[in-house]
Protein backbone atom coordinates (compact mmCIF):
# COMPACT_ATOMS: atom_id res chain seq x y z
CA UNK A 1 0.00 0.00 0.00
CA UNK A 2 1.15 3.52 -0.76
CA UNK A 3 0.02 5.77 2.07
CA UNK A 4 -0.21 9.50 1.56
CA UNK A 5 -0.45 11.81 4.56
CA UNK A 6 -0.19 15.56 4.92
CA UNK A 7 -2.03 18.70 3.91
CA UNK A 8 -4.10 19.50 0.83
CA UNK A 9 -1.17 18.75 -1.45
CA UNK A 10 -1.44 15.18 -0.21
CA UNK A 11 -5.17 15.04 -0.19
CA UNK A 12 -7.97 15.21 -2.65
CA UNK A 13 -8.65 18.86 -2.11
CA UNK A 14 -9.36 20.60 -5.39
CA UNK A 15 -8.70 17.45 -7.33
CA UNK A 16 -11.96 15.63 -7.48
CA UNK A 17 -14.51 18.08 -6.21
CA UNK A 18 -13.79 21.30 -8.01
CA UNK A 19 -15.91 21.52 -11.13
CA UNK A 20 -13.93 24.30 -12.72
CA UNK A 21 -10.82 22.24 -12.36
CA UNK A 22 -12.50 19.14 -13.64
CA UNK A 23 -13.21 20.88 -16.91
CA UNK A 24 -9.64 22.06 -17.24
CA UNK A 25 -7.87 18.95 -16.12
CA UNK A 26 -10.10 16.03 -17.05
CA UNK A 27 -9.30 13.16 -16.87
CA UNK A 28 -7.75 13.92 -13.51
CA UNK A 29 -7.13 10.84 -11.38
CA UNK A 30 -4.72 9.17 -13.78
CA UNK A 31 -2.54 12.24 -13.83
CA UNK A 32 -2.10 12.72 -10.11
CA UNK A 33 1.30 12.06 -8.59
CA UNK A 34 -0.31 9.69 -6.10
CA UNK A 35 -1.71 7.53 -8.90
CA UNK A 36 1.51 7.66 -10.94
CA UNK A 37 3.64 6.57 -8.00
CA UNK A 38 1.22 3.81 -7.06
CA UNK A 39 1.38 2.53 -10.63
CA UNK A 40 5.15 2.65 -10.80
CA UNK A 41 5.64 0.90 -7.47
CA UNK A 42 2.75 -1.51 -8.07
CA UNK A 43 0.86 -0.48 -4.96
CA UNK A 44 -2.70 0.42 -4.14
CA UNK A 45 -2.91 3.82 -2.58
CA UNK A 46 -4.75 5.43 0.28
CA UNK A 47 -4.93 9.20 0.47
CA UNK A 48 -5.16 10.44 4.04
CA UNK A 49 -4.27 14.06 3.43
CA UNK A 50 -6.37 16.72 5.04
CA UNK A 51 -7.00 20.08 3.41
CA UNK A 52 -5.62 22.87 5.57
CA UNK A 53 -3.93 20.41 7.93
CA UNK A 54 -1.12 21.43 10.20
CA UNK A 55 1.73 19.03 10.79
CA UNK A 56 0.32 17.89 14.12
CA UNK A 57 -2.85 16.91 12.25
CA UNK A 58 -0.81 14.93 9.73
CA UNK A 59 1.20 13.15 12.41
CA UNK A 60 -1.93 12.35 14.38
CA UNK A 61 -3.45 10.73 11.30
CA UNK A 62 -0.27 8.66 10.84
CA UNK A 63 -0.58 7.37 14.41
CA UNK A 64 -4.20 6.49 13.72
CA UNK A 65 -3.16 4.25 10.81
CA UNK A 66 0.10 2.99 12.31
CA UNK A 67 -1.34 -0.45 12.96
CA UNK A 68 -2.27 -0.89 9.29
CA UNK A 69 1.08 0.07 7.78
CA UNK A 70 2.98 -3.10 6.90
CA UNK A 71 6.46 -4.04 5.68
CA UNK A 72 6.72 -3.34 1.96
CA UNK A 73 4.37 -0.35 2.13
CA UNK A 74 5.42 3.15 1.16
CA UNK A 75 4.57 6.21 3.26
CA UNK A 76 4.67 9.70 1.81
CA UNK A 77 4.00 12.66 4.04
CA UNK A 78 3.50 16.08 2.56
CA UNK A 79 4.51 18.35 5.38
CA UNK A 80 2.75 21.63 5.81
CA UNK A 81 3.69 25.10 6.92
CA UNK A 82 5.03 25.29 10.46
CA UNK A 83 2.94 28.42 10.78
CA UNK A 84 -0.17 26.27 10.96
CA UNK A 85 -1.04 25.21 14.49
CA UNK A 86 -3.72 23.29 16.32
CA UNK A 87 -6.67 25.30 17.50
CA UNK A 88 -10.01 24.65 19.12
CA UNK A 89 -12.45 25.44 16.36
CA UNK A 90 -15.70 25.84 18.31
CA UNK A 91 -18.39 26.22 15.66
CA UNK A 92 -16.47 28.46 13.35
CA UNK A 93 -14.78 25.80 11.26
CA UNK A 94 -15.71 26.50 7.69
CA UNK A 95 -12.95 24.97 5.63
CA UNK A 96 -13.78 22.54 2.86
CA UNK A 97 -15.16 19.17 3.86
CA UNK A 98 -16.77 20.45 7.01
CA UNK A 99 -16.81 19.17 10.54
CA UNK A 100 -17.77 15.59 9.77
CA UNK A 101 -14.91 15.08 7.32
CA UNK A 102 -12.35 16.43 9.74
CA UNK A 103 -13.77 14.49 12.63
CA UNK A 104 -13.75 11.19 10.77
CA UNK A 105 -10.20 11.46 9.52
CA UNK A 106 -8.71 12.71 12.78
CA UNK A 107 -10.47 10.35 15.18
CA UNK A 108 -11.47 6.70 15.25
CA UNK A 109 -14.69 7.74 16.88
CA UNK A 110 -16.19 11.21 16.59
CA UNK A 111 -15.54 13.39 19.64
CA UNK A 112 -18.54 14.05 21.87
CA UNK A 113 -20.86 16.64 20.41
CA UNK A 114 -20.07 19.02 23.22
CA UNK A 115 -16.43 19.00 22.16
CA UNK A 116 -15.37 21.43 19.51
CA UNK A 117 -12.96 20.02 16.97
CA UNK A 118 -9.25 20.64 17.46
CA UNK A 119 -7.40 20.92 14.18
CA UNK A 120 -5.33 23.34 12.15
CA UNK A 121 -6.42 26.92 12.55
CA UNK A 122 -6.37 27.45 8.80
CA UNK A 123 -10.08 27.00 8.43
CA UNK A 124 -10.90 29.64 10.99
CA UNK A 125 -11.45 33.03 9.55
CA UNK A 126 -11.77 36.57 10.66
CA UNK A 127 -9.29 36.66 13.51
CA UNK A 128 -7.23 39.60 14.58
CA UNK A 129 -3.47 39.84 14.19
CA UNK A 130 -2.77 39.30 17.86
CA UNK A 131 -4.56 35.98 17.85
CA UNK A 132 -2.83 34.94 14.65
CA UNK A 133 0.57 35.65 16.18
CA UNK A 134 -0.46 33.97 19.41
CA UNK A 135 -1.37 30.81 17.53
CA UNK A 136 1.99 30.49 15.91
CA UNK A 137 4.28 31.62 18.66
CA UNK A 138 2.08 30.84 21.61
CA UNK A 139 2.88 34.38 22.56
CA UNK A 140 2.40 37.66 20.79
CA UNK A 141 5.05 39.78 22.33
CA UNK A 142 7.52 38.80 19.65
CA UNK A 143 7.21 39.21 15.94
CA UNK A 144 7.16 36.11 13.78
CA UNK A 145 10.85 35.86 13.10
CA UNK A 146 12.76 33.28 11.06
CA UNK A 147 13.92 31.87 14.39
CA UNK A 148 10.38 31.17 15.47
CA UNK A 149 9.62 29.54 12.16
CA UNK A 150 12.87 27.56 12.34
CA UNK A 151 12.00 26.37 15.83
CA UNK A 152 8.72 24.92 14.58
CA UNK A 153 10.41 23.54 11.48
CA UNK A 154 13.02 21.79 13.62
CA UNK A 155 10.27 20.34 15.77
CA UNK A 156 8.39 19.17 12.69
CA UNK A 157 11.38 17.46 11.09
CA UNK A 158 12.43 15.88 14.37
CA UNK A 159 8.94 14.44 14.78
CA UNK A 160 8.96 13.22 11.18
CA UNK A 161 12.33 11.56 11.82
CA UNK A 162 10.64 9.50 14.55
CA UNK A 163 8.39 7.97 11.94
CA UNK A 164 11.28 7.57 9.49
CA UNK A 165 13.17 5.58 12.10
CA UNK A 166 10.18 3.44 12.91
CA UNK A 167 9.10 2.80 9.34
CA UNK A 168 12.64 2.00 8.28
CA UNK A 169 12.94 -0.49 11.14
CA UNK A 170 9.92 -2.44 9.87
CA UNK A 171 10.77 -2.32 6.17
CA UNK A 172 8.54 0.55 5.09
CA UNK A 173 10.01 3.10 2.71
CA UNK A 174 9.07 6.68 3.49
CA UNK A 175 9.60 10.21 2.27
CA UNK A 176 8.63 13.45 3.90
CA UNK A 177 8.27 16.26 1.44
CA UNK A 178 8.28 19.98 1.95
CA UNK A 179 6.26 20.29 -1.18
CA UNK A 180 3.11 21.24 0.56
CA UNK A 181 2.77 24.65 2.07
CA UNK A 182 6.08 24.06 3.83
CA UNK A 183 7.97 25.32 0.82
CA UNK A 184 6.38 28.69 1.17
CA UNK A 185 5.08 30.54 -1.83
CA UNK A 186 7.89 29.68 -4.19
CA UNK A 187 6.49 26.52 -5.64
CA UNK A 188 3.10 28.10 -6.09
CA UNK A 189 4.43 30.28 -8.86
CA UNK A 190 6.62 27.78 -10.57
CA UNK A 191 5.24 24.37 -9.94
CA UNK A 192 2.52 24.26 -12.48
CA UNK A 193 -0.33 25.23 -10.28
CA UNK A 194 -3.83 25.95 -11.35
CA UNK A 195 -3.30 29.46 -10.15
CA UNK A 196 -0.40 29.92 -12.50
CA UNK A 197 -1.91 28.11 -15.44
CA UNK A 198 -5.47 29.27 -15.35
CA UNK A 199 -5.42 32.36 -13.17
CA UNK A 200 -7.99 30.80 -10.91
CA UNK A 201 -7.84 31.09 -7.15
CA UNK A 202 -6.58 27.56 -6.59
CA UNK A 203 -2.91 27.10 -5.86
CA UNK A 204 -2.84 23.33 -6.10
CA UNK A 205 -1.08 21.36 -8.81
CA UNK A 206 -2.10 21.22 -12.43
CA UNK A 207 -1.67 18.00 -14.33
CA UNK A 208 1.82 19.16 -15.21
CA UNK A 209 2.55 19.98 -11.59
CA UNK A 210 1.47 16.50 -10.61
CA UNK A 211 3.86 15.07 -13.15
CA UNK A 212 6.79 16.98 -11.74
CA UNK A 213 5.87 16.13 -8.20
CA UNK A 214 5.82 12.49 -9.26
CA UNK A 215 9.35 12.89 -10.66
CA UNK A 216 10.58 14.49 -7.46
CA UNK A 217 9.09 11.91 -5.11
CA UNK A 218 10.15 9.05 -7.37
CA UNK A 219 13.69 10.41 -7.30
CA UNK A 220 13.52 10.54 -3.50
CA UNK A 221 12.35 6.95 -3.29
CA UNK A 222 14.97 5.75 -5.76
CA UNK A 223 17.70 7.44 -3.74
CA UNK A 224 16.41 6.43 -0.31
CA UNK A 225 15.85 10.01 0.76
CA UNK A 226 13.63 10.43 3.79
CA UNK A 227 13.06 14.13 3.40
CA UNK A 228 13.21 16.53 0.50
CA UNK A 229 12.43 20.18 0.22
CA UNK A 230 12.78 22.92 -2.30
CA UNK A 231 16.33 23.70 -1.29
CA UNK A 232 17.42 20.12 -1.89
CA UNK A 233 15.64 19.98 -5.20
CA UNK A 234 17.22 23.19 -6.43
CA UNK A 235 20.67 21.89 -5.60
CA UNK A 236 20.42 18.25 -6.54
CA UNK A 237 17.71 17.36 -8.97
CA UNK A 238 18.41 16.64 -12.65
CA UNK A 239 17.90 19.95 -14.37
CA UNK A 240 16.67 18.45 -17.59
CA UNK A 241 13.71 16.85 -15.90
CA UNK A 242 12.33 19.75 -13.94
CA UNK A 243 11.10 23.22 -14.80
CA UNK A 244 13.17 26.17 -13.75
CA UNK A 245 12.46 27.16 -10.19
CA UNK A 246 12.53 30.65 -8.84
CA UNK A 247 14.63 30.90 -5.69
CA UNK A 248 13.17 32.73 -2.72
Amino acid sequence: MLWVFGDSFAGSHCRLDDESRREKEYPYLEYTWQYLLAQKYKQDFKIKGLGGACNEDAFKIITKYLHLIKPGDIVLTILSSPNRQLEVTEDKHSFSGGLQHYSSILYNEPPPEVHPLVTSHLGNRGVDEDTEACRIMRMYKYNITPKVRDAWLYWTLDYWQSFVNYFTSIGVRCVGSGFGALSGDVHYDDWMTLHESYSCDCKHFTREGHKYNFIVLDHALQNNLNYIDLKYILQNYPKDKLPALKTP
Binding site: E56, F59, K60, T63, K64, L66, H67, Q85, L86, E87, V88, E90, L106, Y107, N108, P111, H115, P116, L117, V118, H121, V127, D130, T131, C134, R135, M137, R138, M139, Y140, K141, Y142, T145, K147, V148, D150, A151, W152, Y154, W155, D158, Y159, Q161, S162, F163, N165, Y166, T168, S169
Partner: protein, 228 residues
Protein backbone atom coordinates in the same frame (compact mmCIF):
# COMPACT_ATOMS: atom_id res chain seq x y z
CA UNK B 1 22.97 -14.67 26.37
CA UNK B 2 19.52 -13.25 25.70
CA UNK B 3 19.28 -9.53 26.23
CA UNK B 4 16.66 -8.52 28.77
CA UNK B 5 13.62 -6.70 27.52
CA UNK B 6 13.09 -3.09 28.46
CA UNK B 7 10.33 -1.35 30.38
CA UNK B 8 9.86 2.10 28.81
CA UNK B 9 8.28 5.02 30.63
CA UNK B 10 6.96 8.28 29.16
CA UNK B 11 5.09 11.05 30.87
CA UNK B 12 5.26 13.97 33.25
CA UNK B 13 6.22 14.40 36.90
CA UNK B 14 3.90 11.59 37.95
CA UNK B 15 6.19 9.13 36.21
CA UNK B 16 9.51 10.95 36.65
CA UNK B 17 9.17 10.41 40.38
CA UNK B 18 9.16 14.11 41.13
CA UNK B 19 10.29 14.87 44.65
CA UNK B 20 11.79 11.44 45.23
CA UNK B 21 13.94 10.88 42.19
CA UNK B 22 15.74 13.62 40.25
CA UNK B 23 17.25 11.71 37.36
CA UNK B 24 14.83 13.49 35.02
CA UNK B 25 16.95 16.63 35.43
CA UNK B 26 19.45 14.99 33.10
CA UNK B 27 23.18 15.34 33.09
CA UNK B 28 24.65 16.42 36.37
CA UNK B 29 21.32 15.87 38.13
CA UNK B 30 23.06 15.14 41.42
CA UNK B 31 24.25 18.72 41.52
CA UNK B 32 21.24 20.30 39.86
CA UNK B 33 18.78 18.78 42.30
CA UNK B 34 20.39 20.68 45.14
CA UNK B 35 18.85 23.92 43.93
CA UNK B 36 15.36 22.43 44.16
CA UNK B 37 13.44 23.41 47.27
CA UNK B 38 11.65 20.07 47.28
CA UNK B 39 14.92 18.17 47.38
CA UNK B 40 16.11 20.38 50.23
CA UNK B 41 12.94 19.44 52.14
CA UNK B 42 12.89 15.71 51.40
CA UNK B 43 16.48 14.79 50.69
CA UNK B 44 17.80 11.51 49.30
CA UNK B 45 17.00 7.89 49.99
CA UNK B 46 13.76 7.46 48.06
CA UNK B 47 15.13 7.13 44.51
CA UNK B 48 14.17 3.50 44.15
CA UNK B 49 10.71 3.79 45.68
CA UNK B 50 9.10 5.26 42.57
CA UNK B 51 6.68 2.99 40.71
CA UNK B 52 8.58 2.89 37.39
CA UNK B 53 11.60 1.40 39.13
CA UNK B 54 9.40 -0.95 41.12
CA UNK B 55 7.78 -2.16 37.92
CA UNK B 56 11.03 -2.66 36.01
CA UNK B 57 12.51 -4.52 38.99
CA UNK B 58 9.40 -6.62 39.44
CA UNK B 59 9.55 -7.85 35.85
CA UNK B 60 13.34 -8.10 35.81
CA UNK B 61 13.49 -5.74 32.86
CA UNK B 62 15.78 -2.98 31.73
CA UNK B 63 14.68 0.49 32.79
CA UNK B 64 14.33 3.52 30.52
CA UNK B 65 12.43 6.45 31.92
CA UNK B 66 11.90 9.41 29.58
CA UNK B 67 9.35 11.15 31.80
CA UNK B 68 10.21 14.73 32.69
CA UNK B 69 8.48 16.88 35.27
CA UNK B 70 6.31 19.58 33.70
CA UNK B 71 6.27 17.92 30.31
CA UNK B 72 3.39 18.52 27.90
CA UNK B 73 1.28 15.95 26.08
CA UNK B 74 2.70 17.24 22.82
CA UNK B 75 6.24 16.45 23.91
CA UNK B 76 5.28 13.12 25.51
CA UNK B 77 3.80 12.10 22.16
CA UNK B 78 6.96 13.05 20.27
CA UNK B 79 9.21 11.27 22.77
CA UNK B 80 7.15 8.11 22.54
CA UNK B 81 7.32 8.31 18.74
CA UNK B 82 11.06 8.91 18.92
CA UNK B 83 11.58 5.58 20.66
CA UNK B 84 9.26 3.35 18.62
CA UNK B 85 12.05 2.00 16.44
CA UNK B 86 14.06 0.97 19.51
CA UNK B 87 11.33 -1.15 21.08
CA UNK B 88 11.32 -4.92 20.75
CA UNK B 89 8.72 -7.61 21.12
CA UNK B 90 8.41 -8.45 24.79
CA UNK B 91 9.15 -4.91 25.95
CA UNK B 92 6.61 -3.04 28.01
CA UNK B 93 5.57 0.59 27.69
CA UNK B 94 3.96 2.94 30.18
CA UNK B 95 2.62 6.26 28.96
CA UNK B 96 1.11 8.86 31.22
CA UNK B 97 -0.91 11.63 29.58
CA UNK B 98 -0.83 14.86 31.48
CA UNK B 99 -2.67 18.12 32.06
CA UNK B 100 -3.49 19.82 28.77
CA UNK B 101 -2.46 23.36 29.61
CA UNK B 102 1.20 22.77 29.01
CA UNK B 103 2.75 23.97 25.80
CA UNK B 104 6.10 23.95 24.13
CA UNK B 105 6.62 27.43 22.75
CA UNK B 106 9.32 28.81 20.45
CA UNK B 107 12.14 30.41 22.35
CA UNK B 108 12.44 34.02 21.21
CA UNK B 109 16.18 33.72 20.66
CA UNK B 110 16.93 30.05 20.11
CA UNK B 111 15.87 27.86 17.18
CA UNK B 112 13.96 25.48 19.37
CA UNK B 113 10.86 25.01 21.45
CA UNK B 114 10.90 25.14 25.23
CA UNK B 115 8.42 23.45 27.51
CA UNK B 116 6.12 25.62 29.60
CA UNK B 117 3.33 24.94 32.06
CA UNK B 118 0.22 27.00 32.44
CA UNK B 119 -1.60 25.85 35.57
CA UNK B 120 -5.05 27.13 34.70
CA UNK B 121 -8.60 26.61 35.81
CA UNK B 122 -11.98 28.19 35.24
CA UNK B 123 -13.90 29.81 38.05
CA UNK B 124 -17.61 29.32 38.60
CA UNK B 125 -18.30 32.65 36.97
CA UNK B 126 -16.47 31.55 33.82
CA UNK B 127 -13.41 33.68 34.41
CA UNK B 128 -9.96 32.18 34.05
CA UNK B 129 -7.41 31.88 36.77
CA UNK B 130 -3.91 30.50 36.88
CA UNK B 131 -0.99 30.11 39.23
CA UNK B 132 1.01 33.07 38.13
CA UNK B 133 4.17 32.10 40.00
CA UNK B 134 4.44 28.80 38.13
CA UNK B 135 4.35 30.37 34.67
CA UNK B 136 7.87 30.68 33.29
CA UNK B 137 9.26 34.13 32.47
CA UNK B 138 9.59 33.22 28.78
CA UNK B 139 5.92 34.09 28.36
CA UNK B 140 7.00 37.67 28.87
CA UNK B 141 5.96 40.55 31.09
CA UNK B 142 2.50 40.62 29.56
CA UNK B 143 2.02 36.91 30.12
CA UNK B 144 -1.33 37.17 31.87
CA UNK B 145 -2.83 38.93 28.88
CA UNK B 146 -1.11 36.61 26.39
CA UNK B 147 -2.12 33.44 28.18
CA UNK B 148 -5.69 34.58 28.49
CA UNK B 149 -5.79 35.29 24.77
CA UNK B 150 -4.17 31.97 23.97
CA UNK B 151 -6.58 30.02 26.14
CA UNK B 152 -9.69 31.79 24.97
CA UNK B 153 -8.90 32.00 21.26
CA UNK B 154 -6.58 29.08 20.57
CA UNK B 155 -6.55 26.34 23.19
CA UNK B 156 -10.13 26.78 24.36
CA UNK B 157 -11.29 27.57 27.87
CA UNK B 158 -12.50 24.01 28.24
CA UNK B 159 -9.26 22.09 27.86
CA UNK B 160 -10.89 18.69 27.36
CA UNK B 161 -10.96 18.78 23.55
CA UNK B 162 -7.25 19.55 23.46
CA UNK B 163 -6.64 16.77 25.96
CA UNK B 164 -8.60 14.42 23.74
CA UNK B 165 -6.43 15.17 20.72
CA UNK B 166 -3.31 13.96 22.47
CA UNK B 167 -4.90 11.16 24.42
CA UNK B 168 -6.36 9.60 21.29
CA UNK B 169 -2.99 9.84 19.53
CA UNK B 170 -1.20 8.29 22.51
CA UNK B 171 -3.91 5.66 22.71
CA UNK B 172 -3.53 4.81 19.02
CA UNK B 173 0.18 4.19 19.54
CA UNK B 174 -0.29 2.06 22.65
CA UNK B 175 -2.93 -0.01 20.84
CA UNK B 176 -0.53 -0.53 17.97
CA UNK B 177 2.26 -1.57 20.33
CA UNK B 178 -0.02 -4.04 22.04
CA UNK B 179 -0.80 -5.57 18.66
CA UNK B 180 2.85 -6.19 17.89
CA UNK B 181 3.68 -7.84 21.19
CA UNK B 182 4.77 -4.82 23.20
CA UNK B 183 2.49 -4.62 26.20
CA UNK B 184 1.54 -0.99 26.63
CA UNK B 185 -0.56 1.02 28.98
CA UNK B 186 -1.93 4.58 28.85
CA UNK B 187 -2.58 6.15 32.24
CA UNK B 188 -4.16 9.60 32.48
CA UNK B 189 -2.59 11.54 35.34
CA UNK B 190 -5.42 14.07 35.28
CA UNK B 191 -7.92 11.37 36.18
CA UNK B 192 -5.82 9.12 38.36
CA UNK B 193 -3.17 11.06 40.25
CA UNK B 194 -5.39 12.28 43.08
CA UNK B 195 -6.23 8.72 44.09
CA UNK B 196 -2.80 8.19 45.59
CA UNK B 197 -1.15 9.49 48.72
CA UNK B 198 0.79 12.66 48.05
CA UNK B 199 3.98 14.00 49.53
CA UNK B 200 1.91 16.61 51.40
CA UNK B 201 0.11 13.82 53.24
CA UNK B 202 3.30 11.91 53.93
CA UNK B 203 5.25 14.93 55.16
CA UNK B 204 2.86 17.58 56.50
CA UNK B 205 4.20 21.03 55.87
CA UNK B 206 5.48 20.23 52.39
CA UNK B 207 2.89 21.45 49.93
CA UNK B 208 3.42 18.99 47.13
CA UNK B 209 0.85 16.64 45.68
CA UNK B 210 3.15 14.26 43.83
CA UNK B 211 3.01 10.68 45.04
CA UNK B 212 4.76 9.75 48.26
CA UNK B 213 6.63 6.42 48.49
CA UNK B 214 3.37 4.87 49.63
CA UNK B 215 1.55 6.51 46.74
CA UNK B 216 4.08 5.07 44.32
CA UNK B 217 3.72 1.65 45.90
CA UNK B 218 -0.03 1.79 45.43
CA UNK B 219 0.31 2.84 41.81
CA UNK B 220 2.70 -0.07 41.34
CA UNK B 221 0.17 -2.49 42.82
CA UNK B 222 -2.66 -1.13 40.68
CA UNK B 223 -0.59 -1.28 37.52
CA UNK B 224 0.49 -4.84 38.19
CA UNK B 225 -3.13 -5.89 37.85
CA UNK B 226 -3.19 -4.36 34.36
CA UNK B 227 0.11 -5.81 33.23
CA UNK B 228 -0.41 -9.40 34.33
Amino acid sequence: MVEANTFWFFGCSMTSGHGLNWEWLGDNYQERKKSKELWQQIGDGYENTIFPKLLADHFGMGYKNYAVSGQSNQTILVQLSNCLHLMNEGDRVWVNSTWPMRFPIPHPELDRLVETMVPMWMNNDGSLDYQDELIPPIWGEDRNEVIKLFIQKVAGANSQPLQRVYKTALYDITLHLNKIGIKSFLWDATERAHHYQGIKHWKPGIEDAHPSPKGHKNIFNDVLKEFI
